[in-house]
Every structure is written in C-alpha cells, then in structure tokens.
C-alpha cells in the first residue's frame, strides 16, 4: 500500500516569533526553520506502517520555497522512499495547498494520505479536511491511533470529551494529533543515504493550480505580554484583590 505524507517547512517551534513593525506579518529574516511538529508525527506514523509491513512505499510531498527540500530530505532520512517538491515562493493558503495535494493524490493514487492536523505557523487546521473533501475521501482527523485493517483503517480521534474511533474505507485522509507517536531522530547514516533518494520538483502551474489567495491578512499583532505578578501581605488582601480587582470571585 502506498502512503502519501505531506510535510511543511515552518518557523522552528523554539524560536521566539517577532511581528514585523508594520504589522503585515511575522519576521522571517534569519529565523530558524524546521519541519512542522505535526508533520514529523505524520512521517513517523508512515514509517511505522512500513516497518509493520502495512505500507510498501512512502511518498513525501512539500509545498514551499527551494529550502523546503531540507524538510523533504529529513523525511527521506526518517524512512520515506521518495520526495515531491512543489516549488513556489508565493504564499500558499490552506485551500490552495489542498488543491495541490489533490493533484498529487490524483497522480500517485495513494491508499492513505497522512498530514499534520495543523501547521504551527498559521494554525489553520484546514488542509487535511479540504483535501478529503476535494478528493472525495473519508477523513479521520486528530488521530491518536491508526490501525489499518484490510481495506479499512480505524482511526482513534482525540475530541473534547474523550476519544472517538471511526472506521474509514481506504483510500482515506488522516491528520495527526500530538499523542499519536513520538518521532525518532534522523540518524546520520540515514541522512547520508537520503541524499541519494529521488526527489522530483514540480511547479503549481504543472499541477494546474492557481495560487491567488482567497483571504487577505489585515493585521498581525503580538500577543499581550503577561503582567508581572504581585505579592500580597495577607489572605484578606488576596480575597479583596480577587474580588475587586481581578473580579474572579
């Protein structure tokens, strides 16, 4: 069974994000980039399926600038078999990403598509769902367990009240949640082997997708900084402040 995994290049989780002074976006100059953490989980899940003998081929796809090939190489080092890079320097919104992925799905005909539930840069949580709709596939989102069973896949989903397990017919789309697995490190020998794995580059135009954004960002602002705490002298003072200043009791 062929598995397609989508990975995105985003600002490293550990970087302190700075908003541009003109509030048009986030400052990306000289900022460390890395694979979106949910995509790491998606790659890991595909690799585990391959190790179990369920998956036979893992194709990894990334949409983004030339440098996104770093993240594809990482996925190849982790165990993916070949990469597809859809190269663009344009902004790619969720719908456009879903359309590009749909075009790849049409070509590759994977049985399972695994994506992160969201990317930590825009936090949209849309691409997987949109892809499922466009491709006419069933979807299992926020997966904390994925068990392939013949031509079906059981996906345990993390929802507000607990866990829901859904059974989907393959081919299907799965999006990963944090607890699905703990991704491994890319080993140095595998990083070297990954350099020789095939990586095919395409353009959005090759796939017939128009990237014109449908949404306009009006303003980006940094979150409010937390106010410093204060020390209170007595329980009475604490109660008074909670009542009259914080107004929480």
């Amino acid at each position: 069974m062929k598995v397609l995994v989508a990975v995105k290049r985003v600002i490293d989780y550990n970087v302190k994000v700075r908003v541009k002074p003109d509030n048009t976006g986030v400052d990306l100059a000289n900022v460390k980039m890395a694979m979106n953490p949910f995509c790491e989980i998606a790659v890991e899940e595909a690799v585990r399926l391959k190790e179990k003998g369920v998956a036979t081929e893992i194709v990894v796809v990334s949409i983004g600038p030339k440098a996104a090939q770093e993240q594809i190489r990482t996925a190849l080092a982790l165990g993916a078999d070949r990469g597809i890079h859809i190269e663009t320097d344009e902004e790619v919104q969720s719908l456009q990403a879903a359309k590009l992925l749909k075009a790849v799905v049409d070509k590759e005909e994977p049985k399972l598509v695994i994506l992160g539930k969201q990317s930590i840069d825009t936090d949209n949580n849309q691409t997987g769902q949109m892809l499922a709709a466009l491709a006419g596939m069933p979807q299992g989102t926020f997966a904390s367990e994925v068990v392939v069973d013949g031509d079906k896949v059981n996906v345990t989903r993390e929802v507000d009240g607990g866990l829901v397990t859904v059974q989907l017919n393959l081919p299907a789309v799965v999006t990963t949640d944090l607890r699905l697995n703990e991704p491994r490190y890319a080993s140095l020998p595998n990083i070297m082997k990954a350099k020789k794995k095939p990586l095919d580059t395409q353009s959005p135009a090759d796939l017939g997708v128009d990237l014109t954004p449908r949404l306009t960002t009006l303003k980006v602002e940094a979150p409010q900084t937390r106010k410093a705490g204060i020390k209170v002298g007595s329980v009475e003072e604490l109660v008074d402040k909670l009542k009259n200043e914080a107004k929480v009791i």
Partner: protein, 467 residues
Amino acid sequence: MTAKTPEEIIQALRERVPSGKVLTDPDDLQTYGKDWTKVYEPNPLAIVLPKTTEEVQAIVLFANEHGIGLVPSGGRTGLSAGAVAANGEIVVAFDAMNKVLDFNANDRTVVCQAGVVTQQLQQFAEEQGLFYPVDFASSGSSQLGGNLSTNAGGIKVIRYGMSRDWVAGLTVVTGKGDILELNKDLEKNNSGYDLRHLFIGAEGTLGFITEATMKLTRQPMDLRVLVLGLADITNTMDVLKAFQEKLDLTAYEFFSHQAMNHVRAHSDIQPPFDTEAPFYALLEFEALSEQQVDDAMAAFELCVEEGWVLDGVISQSETQAKNLWQLRERVSESIAPRTPYKNDISVVVSKVPGFLKEIDAVVSEHYPDFEIIWFGHIGDGNVHLNILKPEDMDKEDFFRKCEKVNKWVFEIVERHRGSISAEHGVGMIKKPYLGYTRSEAEIGYLKAIKQVFDPNGIMNPGKLLDV
C-alpha cells in the same frame, strides 16, 4: 578590646551597615550557612546583606577589629563547601547587590554587582542582541561573584573558555579592607602583576568581589547537536580530533550507557537511536552555512569507517537540539537519589582515554559491586566520576570506602599531571588533596599571597588552604 557577647557583636555590626540587612533568624542561618554540598552543619553567627562596596568594606574592617571570620556567599550552588559557615562566622551574602549597573555597546561590556545571577546576565546580554557564553545547570541560581570566585566552567568551555576569560575588570575589597579596582576594564594593560586573576578562583579567601565588568560576544547562529555512539572509551579523543579538524565545536560532552539508562529511568526521554554503545559523545557546532553540516557529515563518515563510532544522530530542529542536550544535562539529577560520591577531575585532553581506563580498572577491581557513572566535559579533559552507593550498603560504610577510592584516584590524577578539581573549586571538600595537584613549594607561595591580602585570616577561614 574587651570581649563582647554575640548579641553585642551583632548589634555593633548593624550599626556599621545602616542600609544593609542583618539576619539572625535560625531559618536564615540554616539557609545562608551552607552551599549545595550539605555535608557540614551550618552554624553562622549572623547573615549580613550589604548594598554597596563601601558597606562590604565596613564589614571587613569590623571583622578585622573583632577577629571574626567572614564567609562570602553567592548563589550557594558551589560543590566544594566553599560557601559554608560552620564555625560561627558572619556570612556576607550578595543577594541585595544584584543590579546591572552599566552597559557599553562599543566595548561590549556590562558592569554587574557581584550578586547578579548568571542567568540574569545571560538574559541581559540577549536583550542587547549579544551573548554571555558561560553556562551550566545551576545558572538560574548561581551568582557572578560565586562564578568568578570558583572560575566556573560549564558546557561551552571548549569554545568560549572559563569565567576568567570574560572578566574585563573587578572591584574587590581585600581582606585588609582596601577597595581595589583591578584592570579598569582594559583589553590591554601590561602594567605589571594582574591581580584580577588572583581573585578569580580564590574562593573568597583573599577578599570580596563586589563588582565585575564582564565581556559579551555575538550570539551563536544555528546550533546543531550530534549524539554519537562510541565503540570504546578510547575513541573519544579520535572522534574529537576528527571533528575539530573540520569544525570549531561549541561543546564536546560525553556520558556512559549507564548514565543514559539513569536519565531514561528518571525522566521520559527517548534514546537517540536503537544501537547500543558503551559511551556517547554529544557535539555541538554552529552551522553558519550548509558547508559546516557537510563537514560534520564527512567527519562522521570517517569515524564510522575507522570503527570509532557505531551510530549517530543530528538535530533537525532547535527542539531536537534541546532534547538531545537533555540526555547529558539530566545525568546529575537522575543519579542524585543514589547518594553519588562525586569527583571532578581533569587531565590534558590527549591523556583522557588512558586516564579513564586506569581509574575504571582500579575502582572495579577493588569494589566490583560499585556502579560507576562517567560523564563530563570531555572536550576540555574534564570528567565527572560518580560512584553510586549500592542499595544494601550503609552510608557510613560507603563513604569510608569512597575515601579510599579517592586516594587511588588522586594518585592516578597526580601521575597524569592532572587536577583534583577541574571546575568546582577546593573549598573544604578537596582541601586535604590539594597536594596531589600543587607542589609543596607552590602551596607555600599560595599561603604567602593569602597573608598579603588577608593578614588576620578573616576571609573564608578553613577553605582552600590552612594557614
């Protein structure tokens, strides 16, 4: 002078430091009377928290008049019982002298009071877009005064050196009560003896450091971390050489497989790879461009071909870099429940493999049921030898046996021309063993120097040397 009761002395002290606090509460005496070692029972007369250099001077003059010992106290994270007051001394704590006084962007220097916490200086540097590179696990509590008085090292020494290398100038109060401004922050100043360096590493035995001008540097760029599985302990230095031929490393640490097992049992941290190795090396370098990453790959390939390295990983993100560091940084806390007997020893880098083998052989021959945990800053020739207490052995018995081990270990240190204290200082814990590293003649000079700065022996009595 007429003899005074402790109460009268404390009252007189209060009058001498009008703006500083004097504490005598039993809880405060306990807290301020000891450092991280917790071996000696604290018993200070009082704690005083001065606010200015002049107040420190007043305290020193007062102590000279009354013949009372003074114990300088920083963050009390020291590991040699340097900041311990067990004999009725007055503890001088720097918590109230914790201000960054000045910053000079052109000189890239920052003037700090001695009580500035290491992490506070690191953060201040970061806010200026700069970097203070001395770093270790206790930097959230340790103070600059303590760092300099122990010449603290840490995890970046291979690239950035010790605390000593970052001091442009010092203000000190000598044990005689003189205020000296040492080196005046100059880069070049060949005007005779550099007293600044006598106070660095003096463990408070010559006087107090009250202010320090520290140098800052540019922030490191993209830091990458590798963890390698080594085939044998003797390969640590081959691997170091292979990488250093191509890269400037910012860290080269090592830990044994047992050490990693303790870390993994203690906290939920995943191993770097499945391949089991007896020892692991952690390397860090700055990836200024992809070239450095390629160079690291090439060095790795060589190490594998030579059979020195069994497997390895490289961080693909800052998160991964941080997680890989945890494997090394958590060793200390993970073995703490096992009452480890700790040694902090060093030899020149080229002698490390033979040195480790010898010590390992001696300890395991005499005490086969002792578990030995090796880790440390091996790129600087500095290793931490930790012996864990067998569960069924009582503490007294264990420590007595370790004392014997100590002697053998230090004899090996001496033979390899190493140090009995690489970065933790001497304090009281290592004092009996100083002779393994310093000759009798040299110790004579140390004592003479002490005599010059502190003729009445009021500064940190009983630490480092007996006079």
